[in-house]
């Protein structure tokens, strides 16, 4: 529970509030009680003075009964615990509690200590020093005691009784003790009130913060967490619902963008891989079928030639020959798709190619009442492409767009522009060799669908194969060889056992040996051999900086493609046109764009239209 960010925040806020309110309450209670006490003190002092002055006359007359009576009557008042008069010798001569009368008081007792601390008693002391707060028993109420000294005066030593000599300054003291029960009760009461208020404040604050944290932090963070979990499990179609405009909301939006891009990239890779194998398959199939087809065609045409005088056979044989020739054309179009040959690239203006392609299907456009809107960047540089293949790409796209629009009329929007994208994390190593030109690409071990780089590792007499991520900047390397790779391990080419370790250089991050791969035409790719390190370097790609692309968008206002079909549209033989299409158009396009190291992506809204986005890098060296 404490691992939750919301709980932590609430805890921190509640704790801070607790301390602030606690400190505030402490000082508040303290000042309140000291105010109360000083008020009581003043009150008690006043009472003392009053008792002294009200008994003065009786003392003068030495009417002891009356004094006792006065004291008794004062002592009966509810708050007053005890009123005593103590003479010079420490004897209690009057007391509201009669049991104390004639008892001696020890000078070292707390009530006396203030004056009698020194050997010679002090005669003038301040009110606070005359006051003491104490408990009779540890569990009884607090009591405030105040000593009021009774001073000698002229009328005393002049009096008839002559009880007090002239040189005596203090005749005795009046000790009034007042119970603080009520005051303590009031203080306790206000303490409880403050504590109660604090608890309520903390709970209320906690709840309020909990509510908003839940709303603004926990819930969106949980959504994000859920999203990342989904993505890590491979569900790249997961989108997080709108979360507002704050930072977390923006995080959510960029998360959605990221997964979308990721999904596109994976789709491209997946498609690329599938196309490559399909291409090989198609080429293989076409090649294999070609030979039996040659047998059929040659023998049937041979028969056709030899049965010239037999019109009955002629008709049937002609059908065989005709249909075999048709098969030959199908194989040809299959091979057009699978054609592994390098595109015949020349410098060309992509806008011109597009305009040419538009001209080719001009007729169909006007029949379908399709309007072409060109948003063309006229300052595009020339790029190295196979202009025929590119023209075929656009013609196919336009024809598809026309078909999607149907007879009702619509618009095709063509946009061309220049864009820049970063190469880090996107550049795939497709060819890597050792110094003896043995390929180190492992088609049997793929990382995220791409053939990995293989390195044989020899450590303590054991051998194993390490697989490195072919995407520059991703480091999804697999060092799991079934044994521990020692520090003195050798990293060699699996074919020729020549070392792949770069001499005179170690990893600047961890000091481990560096593996070097020759990438044909693109310099050396260096990567740290340690499993934990993510150091890698590829100068020729780094120095190239941002990669520049020409982006071409073809948007139609046609019927759109539904979501289930979307991932399949680039597959060969997938067609929504029924008998009309052979399902190779988009597959051919895909192959052509891939041959130009470009990418093609599709976005479609059912009923609204479809956009194809093609990106082709300026530099065609890969």
């Amino acid at each position: 529970m404490f691992n939750k960010i919301g709980f932590r925040l609430i805890f921190v806020v509640a704790f801070t509030t607790l301390i602030i309110i606690g400190v505030f309450a402490y000082f508040n209670v303290k000042s309140q009680s000291s105010n109360l006490i000083s008020e009581v003190e003043r009150h008690a002092n006043q009472l003392g003075e009053t008792v002294v002055s009200s008994t003065r006359f009786d003392m003068m007359l030495n009417q002891r009964d009356r004094i006792q009576q006065t004291i008794n009557s004062i002592g009966t008042q509810p708050q007053i615990r005890d009123v005593r008069i103590i003479n010079k010798f420490g004897e209690i001569i009057y007391s509201s509690d009669s049991t104390y009368i004639n008892k001696m008081v020890d000078k070292r007792e707390e009530s006396c200590y203030a004056c009698h601390a020194e050997d010679k008693p002090l005669e003038q002391i301040s009110i606070t020093e005359r006051t003491r707060i104490f408990r009779v028993h540890p569990d009884s109420n607090r009591v405030i005691g105040i000593i009021t000294p009774i001073y000698n005066e002229k009328s005393c030593w002049n009096s008839d009784c002559h009880a007090h000599p002239k040189d005596q300054k203090v005749l005795g003291v009046l000790d009034v003790s007042i119970s603080l029960a009520e005051v303590d009760k009031a203080i306790l009461n206000s303490e409880w009130k403050i504590v109660g208020f604090s608890i309520i404040a903390i709970i209320a604050l906690g709840l309020l913060i909990a509510f908003f944290i839940r709303r603004w932090v926990s819930r969106p963070v949980n959504d994000l967490l859920n999203g990342t979990l989904q993505v890590s499990q491979g569900n790249l179609n997961y989108t997080i619902k709108e979360m507002g405009e704050d930072e977390i909301g923006k995080l959510g939006t960029s998360f959605n963008n990221m997964t979308k891009k990721l999904a596109e990239a994976r789709m491209q890779l997946f498609q690329s891989d599938k196309m490559a194998s399909l291409g090989r398959l198609a080429a293989g199939v076409a090649h294999e079928i070609n030979n039996p087809l040659t047998g059929v065609l040659t023998y049937s045409s041979f028969l056709l030639k030899r049965t010239k005088d037999n019109p009955e056979f002629q008709e049937d044989l002609k059908v065989i020959v005709r249909e075999t020739i048709r098969s030959r054309e199908i194989v040809k179009s299959l091979l057009d798709f699978a054609r592994q040959s390098v595109p015949k690239k020349i410098d060309a203006d992509i806008n011109e190619i597009i305009i040419k392609a538009v001209a080719v299907i001009d007729n169909q456009l006007s029949i379908n009442k399709v309007k072409i809107v060109k948003q063309i960047d006229n300052n595009l540089p020339k790029i190295t492409v196979d202009s025929n293949q590119m023209e075929q790409v656009f013609i196919n796209l336009f024809v598809n767009a026309c078909d999607a629009i149907g007879n009702t009329g619509g618009t095709i929007t063509l946009t061309t522009q220049k864009i820049s994208l970063t190469p880090f994390g996107t550049t795939q190593i497709k060819k890597a060799t050792c110094r003896k030109r043995h390929s180190l690409i492992d088609n049997d071990y793929k990382i995220d669908g791409m053939p990995s780089l293989k390195v044989k590792v020899v450590s303590d007499g054991k051998e194993g194969m390490v697989h490195l991520d072919p995407v520059y900047g991703k480091h999804r390397n697999n060092f799991d060889v079934g044994f521990k790779i020692g520090k003195d391990a050798k990293y060699v080419c699996p074919d020729c056992n020549n070392s792949l370790v770069l001499e005179n250089k170690t990893c600047p991050k961890c000091g481990a040996p560096i593996l070097a791969f020759e990438i044909s035409g693109e310099g050396i790719y260096e990567v740290c051999s340690s499993e934990g390190s993510n150091w890698e370097k590829w100068d020729s790609v780094d120095s190239a900086g941002l990669k520049e692309y020409i982006e071409i968008k073809v948007t139609d206002t046609g019927s759109g493609i539904n979501n289930e079909d979307l991932p399949k549209i680039f597959d060969p033989f997938f067609s929504t046109k029924g008998q009309k299409g052979n399902g190779l158009g988009l597959a051919v396009i895909w192959g052509i764009i891939d041959n130009h190291n470009g990418t093609i992506t599709v976005n479609s809204d059912l009923g609204k239209g479809t956009t194809f986005t093609i990106r082709i890098p300026f530099i065609q060296n890969r």
Binding site: A283, A286, H287, N290, N291, P292, L293, T294, G295, V296, L297, T298, Y299, S301, F302, L304, K305, V321, T324, I325, R328, V331, K332, L335, A338, R339, Q340, S341, K344, K345, I346, D386, S387, N388
Partner: protein
């Protein structure tokens, strides 16, 4: 000594080899066979064949090895490359390297017989030419070599770059000498696309022989020589000038030109 066969066919596919044997028998050629490149090379080393038909892609070697072997032997064997569509570029390359013709697989009886017929005639003409040179009869001309600024695709078609950027396409005289007189001509139309090494026209001659003409380059046809439609013999009479066939806007000339042989190299 056993008489050598007229034709050696090298292909790893038994059906094709059998078919070639049967078809060639129709025109009374004797055919020797090799089912892989290795056997083919051995046979070429030990015997002389006027015509060799070879597959380009075989498990143990390719047609270019055969081509090299024939060249090395310095015998006048004419090579016909048989190939699938996937290797048109290879086929064009083989023409550049000295093969006389190529035939795309699968082929019909007529297509193969026409090709063999042409190549056989080619061999005859070349044989005569050799004799003439030996006998130094310089006044006798068997065919006219193409003009020096022309480029040719093997021994079949030529192209000439005009100043306007367009390209003229026509037939080499040696090709015309290997076929009978044209009875009918089938041409593509204006605005059609042609591709290097792919048929762009066909000549129908005597005995139903249908000769497919391979385009020397890729491009779009902007003009068709209408006069040859009505008067095909013009191609035979003046193949390099009045007998041109198409005027083409080239699509990929920078790339494709490397497979074309400059005619100036013929005039040594």
């Amino acid at each position: 000594m056993k008489k050598n066969a007229d034709i050696l066919v090298i292909d790893d596919e038994q059906v094709i080899v059998d078919a070639v044997v049967k078809i060639c028998a129709l025109d009374n050629y004797s055919v020797d066979v090799a089912l892989n490149a290795k056997t083919g090379l051995e046979k070429i080393a030990n015997h002389h064949y006027p015509i060799i038909i070879s597959d380009i892609m075989m498990p143990d070697g390719d047609g270019f090895e055969i081509l090299e072997a024939v060249k090395k032997k310095k015998e006048d064997s004419a090579l016909i490359m048989a190939t699938g569509f996937s290797t048109v570029e290879n086929a064009v390359n083989s023409l550049y390297k000295g093969a006389v013709s190529f035939i795309p697989k699968p082929f019909t009886v007529d297509e193969l017989l026409s090709t063999v017929y042409r190549v056989n005639n080619f061999q005859k003409i070349m044989g005569k030419q050799k004799l003439i040179i030996q006998q130094q009869k310089n006044d006798e001309i068997l065919f006219v070599a193409c003009p020096s600024k022309y480029l040719r695709l093997g021994y079949s078609t030529w192209m000439f770059q005009e100043r306007e950027g367009t390209v003229l396409v026509g037939m080499c005289d040696i090709y015309m000498k290997t076929i009978d007189s044209i009875q009918q001509i089938e041409l593509l139309n204006r605005e059609d696309e042609i591709a290097q090494g792919i048929s762009c026209a066909s000549f129908i001659c005597a005995n139903d022989r249908n000769h497919r003409i391979l385009a020397p380059l890729s491009g779009r046809i902007v003009e068709v020589n209408e006069t040859i439609k009505n008067n095909p013999s013009l191609i035979e009479k003046d193949p390099y000038f009045e007998g041109w066939i198409y005027r083409v806007i080239p699509a990929n000339i920078e790339y494709e030109i490397k497979y074309l042989i400059p005619c100036s190299s013929d005039r040594i």
